[in-house]
């Protein structure tokens, strides 16, 4: 199997991404994530397999989905047996109003690159390129590495947006083709990190250390600012101490909490969203937190 034929599970390809790395970019979102961050605004990225979304307001109640289902998993429009449904996508393919949407497609590297090259003139002028994001792209290391390599072969700038939670060998393999690393650091304390995301940050920090050895890799530390969870200067100073100890060249993005997250949890078969009444952090908080990183260039909202 040649590299171009490697398939990966992709849940979105978004052209004109301007918040995920330098310039105008195309971001490829890969499905599957080992973390369960409590504020995650992409719940459809959790599972490595396709996910079925149901948009209630769009549904016409026409019932074609009920007839189309080979496993009789749809009892009535919008009432879907999670047990019986195998996410085959028959119903989503036929739903006239796109009320049912199957999230996640297996695509080859070649197919993804056909989309990516479309915006090449915009990358060239703006200093943009390809960003591989997720989910956690390192859940599909061969596909991610293949994509980044294919982009670099075409002289397209590459960025990787990752939680850093990955096996060391996959990590190094993928970084070899990465120009800009968008590295999420959610919390400095290992115990608290587990409470917020479901995993410890030990392996994440080891990988960050490894990435310092990759020549010419630009590293951007991205910190989601979640009110009540990690928005205190104390939390930020912990992260700063880690960065100082590593001694690398970093820039820091502070990403304010995204309020739109809650709505998505109602579309699929997800656990209840924990942060329902959260408001985004006020500008004063962001300004205060920004000062915690006085020795690093800081950007708010990933607009650089």
């Amino acid at each position: 199997m040649t590299a171009a034929n490697i398939r990966g599970m992709v849940f979105d390809i978004r052209r004109f991404s301007v918040h995920d790395g330098p310039g105008i970019r195309t971001t490829v979102f890969l499905k599957g994530c080992p973390l369960r961050c409590r504020w995650c605004h992409n719940p459809e990225s959790f599972e490595p397999n396709p996910t079925l979304f149901f948009y209630r307001q769009r549904c016409l109640g026409c019932g074609v989905c009920v007839q189309s289902c080979p496993r009789q998993a749809i009892i009535a429009p919008g009432i879907i047996s999670a047990k019986r449904c195998r996410r085959c996508g028959h119903c989503a393919a036929i739903c006239p109003a796109k009320a049912l949407v199957l999230i996640g497609k297996r695509l080859t590297i070649a197919a993804v690159m056909r989309e990516v090259v479309k915006d090449r003139p915009f990358y060239d002028r703006s200093g943009g390129g390809l960003t591989v994001s997720g989910g956690e792209p390192l859940m599909q290391p061969a596909f991610t590495a293949g994509l980044l390599q294919a982009a670099r072969a075409r002289r397209i700038h590459t960025a990787l947006d990752t939680s850093g939670y990955a096996a060391a060998d996959s990590w190094q393999r993928v970084l070899a083709w990465t120009d800009t690393l968008l590295f999420d650091l959610k919390c400095g304390d290992p115990v608290k990190h587990r409470a917020l995301t479901g995993v410890s940050n030990r392996r994440i920090l080891e990988n960050l250390k490894l990435s310092l050895r990759v020549p010419q890799l630009e590293i951007v530390i991205r910190i989601p600012v979640i009110p009540g969870l990690n928005d205190s200067p104390g939390e930020m100073l912990k992260i700063r101490r880690i960065l100082n100890r590593l001694g690398g060249v970093f820039t820091v993005d502070l990403l304010p909490y995204n309020v739109l997250a809650a709505a998505k949890y109602r579309l699929g078969n997800f656990p209840a969203y924990a942060l329902n009444r959260l408001r985004p952090p006020p500008a004063e908080t962001l300004a205060r937190l920004r000062r915690c990183f006085s020795d690093y260039p800081v950007f708010i909202g990933g607009n650089r």
């Binding site: 004109f16 796109k98 909202g301």
Partner: protein, 730 residues
């Protein structure tokens, strides 16, 4: 913005200037003697009457003075002339094939010369005294032979004298106020104003201040002569020499130059409501900045930058800024211009010199004239001071042509004009056959409109003609073929929805064979009643223009190509030809009440895409894909303009990166030979809030189809259409 400008802005918002206006309508005394004068002389006398009688005013702190205080035009027609009216068509015919005589008609239905900028450069370099001298010289030479020329030159002399006298009234008023005021600073300013108004526009200005005052007098008097849509042309080029001379002599600082420009901007806004258009803000007061000359040298200069700055500070819709771009336009100029768009002003409209100059040459414009192009009322590409291009004389609606093709020449709604009987839709066994019928309808549409345009007649325009070089040389009024170029523009609308509808027909009828064409037509004629699932399927599942899908974009190019080719082939009655536009003007909302539903899932009565932009909400693949689609439509011969609208959510274009992002989109689109692009950067939530509480959003500006205007002043259907447009980058 300094204290003076702040104060003048406050006065503008309080509309203090409006109290000087009068409702009086002046009539020319048509005594036996005057009635015997030729019509052009009477028109000049009517303007002179208005200029001598109209109230004048100078307000505190003003540096540029003058303003229109009457709206109605002076009567000058005799009873016999009034009877010589162009018969109006019955409603249905008239609507579909357009009120070609356009706005600002006189009692006979004769149109005014519109969308033409007076030749400011000519007036500045010679002064009206020079122009009058030239007219007198010619008058002596031609006295015996050419009565048309003789009448024309007499009319020119009358308007020149009247204008100079009008400026003198202002000089006297300034002098009077000067003697009354105690404030020594204002005393000085008024003395200067008195001096300036005695100098210009009679003589060539000596300073930047004089140049701007001259431009303003000429501009406002053009409105008074009864023209509709009065652009300002390439002001940054026209006044550059005066700016440079002042700077060299150390007479002027940039802060003072900016202040003067801002004073002019305030004047343009003060009188902006006195126009005949239905939509507030559609004033046609475009001002074109930057660009390159025929040799490729960049013409952007300090005044261009100051003009952008003035608009950024004043934040009002006038003047409607246009930026000419080319490969070597300085990045900082582009960024400063893009900052206006991002700042939510809906301006400027960006134009691509590298595509437009060769296109104009192809269209018969001399290279130096082509390089001097500026825009008419909105986006119409013309050459001021040289051309009388009747810019928006008629409009072709692709959606109506499709109705005719599907319905054997009948419109979907009863009582409206018919197209050609191209046969029952059962006959169309393939998409190609349907397309052939559609093309026949488009051609018939163009023929009918072109014939109608060619019946139009125009009222004389002696004042505007006096500022036009060729008119003076030939002794012919603009309305009488005096200009060097005399072409006619045709608008087009509904392209994107028509393409989407054809794609839907192709998919459902010819590929999937889910239903026959007559069956689909019956559903569309019933406005999709009882077929919502089918409509949703069309809306959600079928490819649409604006997403960079090659097959769809090719179809758009094919239909646009038919319109462009056929329009260009037709000659007008004034020795010119027709020039096509991929631009809709207000048709995308104003004609919806006369259209049925369409097979793209659009219900009847719903607006469609503005200009040749994607149908609202159908561009779901981001702005780069919109650029792909738009660039796939060959605009090289859409010689009077092709306008793409893009809307962004403010978060997509924030900060320094936002400027670079917008600049990239413009540069890439123009490298791919796109002609013109304009942006709305505004959040849906803000627009909805403005609909709820208009009082809190008096200063919210949006781009409509070719101008910026106050959102809350628009009719609700237009507001909704803007909200419905896809906001990229949410």
């Amino acid at each position: 913005m300094n204290a003076r400008i702040e104060k003048l802005c406050r006065m503008l918002e309080m509309r203090t200037h409006a109290r000087f206006r009068t409702r009086q309508r002046y009539a020319l005394n048509l005594s036996r003697q005057t009635a015997r004068e030729p019509i052009i002389v009477r028109k000049a006398l009517a303007l002179a009457r208005q200029l001598s009688d109209m109230p004048i005013y100078i307000q505190d702190d003003e540096l540029i003075v003058g303003g229109r205080t009457v709206f109605a035009f002076t009567h000058y027609l005799t009873a016999a002339e009034k009877a010589d009216a162009i018969p109006l068509e019955k409603e249905g015919y008239d609507y579909v094939f357009n009120r070609v005589y356009n706005h600002c008609q006189d009692e006979r239905g004769w149109g005014s010369v519109e969308g033409i900028c007076p030749g400011h450069a000519q007036v500045l370099s010679q002064g009206l005294a020079g122009i009058k001298q030239m007219a007198q010289d010619r008058l002596i030479k031609r006295r015996a032979t050419d009565s048309t020329g003789r009448d024309f030159y007499r009319a020119v002399i009358i308007t020149c004298d009247a204008t100079v006298a009008f400026a003198r009234r202002y000089a006297r008023q300034a002098f009077r106020l000067q003697t009354q005021t105690r404030d020594p600073r204002r005393k000085q300013e008024l003395a200067a104003i008195a001096r300036i108004c005695r100098r210009v526009p009679e003589y060539s200005p000596r300073t930047f201040h004089e140049a701007l005052q001259s431009v303003w007098f000429i501009h406002m008097i053009t409105w008074l002569e009864g023209h509709y849509l009065v652009p300002l042309g390439r002001l940054d080029q026209v006044v550059r020499p005066y700016y440079q001379a002042d700077r060299r002599q150390g007479r002027l600082t940039d802060a003072q130059a900016l202040e003067l420009l801002e004073c002019l901007w305030i004047k343009l806004n003060a009188d902006a409501d006195m126009t005949h258009t239905a939509i507030p803000g559609d004033t046609g007061q475009t001002l074109t900045l930057g660009g390159r000359d025929a040799g490729g040298l960049d013409q952007t200069n300090a005044v261009s930058y100051l003009a952008l700055q003035a608009t950024a500070e004043i934040r009002k819709s006038e003047p409607q800024l246009i930026v000419r771009m080319h490969a070597r336009t300085p990045d900082d100029f582009l960024h400063q211009a893009a900052a206006l768009s991002i700042g939510g002003l809906g301006m400027p409209l960006f134009c691509n010199d590298d595509a437009i100059l060769p296109m104009l040459e192809q269209d018969g414009y001399r290279p130096t004239d082509a390089a001097d192009y500026a825009l008419g009322g909105c986006w119409e590409i013309t050459v001021h001071g040289k051309a009388n291009d009747r810019t928006n004389s008629g409009r072709v609606n692709f959606l109506r042509a499709l109705e005719w093709a599907l319905n054997n020449g009948r419109s979907f709604r009863p009582g409206l004009a018919r197209g050609l009987p191209t046969g029952d839709c059962r006959r169309f066994k393939t998409l190609a056959q349907l397309k052939a019928a559609l093309k026949q309808q488009i051609i018939y549409y163009i023929d009918t409109i072109a014939a109608n345009c060619n019946r139009a007649r125009f009222a004389p325009a002696p004042f505007l003609s006096a500022t036009t070089e060729d008119c003076l040389a030939k002794g012919r009024d603009l309305a009488d073929g005096g200009a060097r170029y005399n072409n006619t523009g045709l608008l087009s609308s509904g392209l994107a929805n028509t393409v989407d509808a054809l794609i839907a027909i192709d998919q459902l009828v010819y590929r999937e064979k889910r239903l026959t064409l007559p069956e689909l037509l019956a559903i569309v004629l019933k406005d999709f009643k009882g077929h919502e699932a089918l409509r949703q399927q069309i809306l959600n599942r079928l490819p649409k223009f604006g997403n960079g899908i090659p097959a769809v974009d090719r179809l758009a190019n094919e239909l646009a190509g038919v319109f462009i080719r056929e329009t260009r082939r037709r000659r007008n009655q004034r020795g010119g030809h027709f020039r096509p536009m991929l631009a809709s003007a207000s048709d995308f909302v104003s004609s919806v009440s006369k259209l049925g539903a369409s097979a793209d899932g659009r219900l009847s009565g719903r607006a469609f895409g503005s200009n040749f932009s994607p149908a609202p909400g159908n561009d779901q693949t981001g702005p780069t894909a919109v650029v792909d689609s738009a660039a796939a439509v060959d605009q090289k011969r859409a010689s009077m303009g092709a306008v793409l609208d893009l809307r962004f959510h403010p978060s997509a274009v924030q900060g320094a990166k936002g400027l670079a992002t917008l600049a990239t989109l413009i540069r890439v689109y123009f490298e791919r030979q796109g002609l013109q692009v304009q942006f709305n950067v505004v959040d849906d939530r803000v627009l909805r809030a403005a609909q709820q509480n208009p009082a809190d959003y008096q200063n919210l500006l949006v781009r409509v189809y070719g101008f910026s205007t106050t959102f809350v002043a628009l009719e609700k259907d237009l507001q909704d259409q803007i909200i419905a447009r896809t906001a990229h980058g949410v």
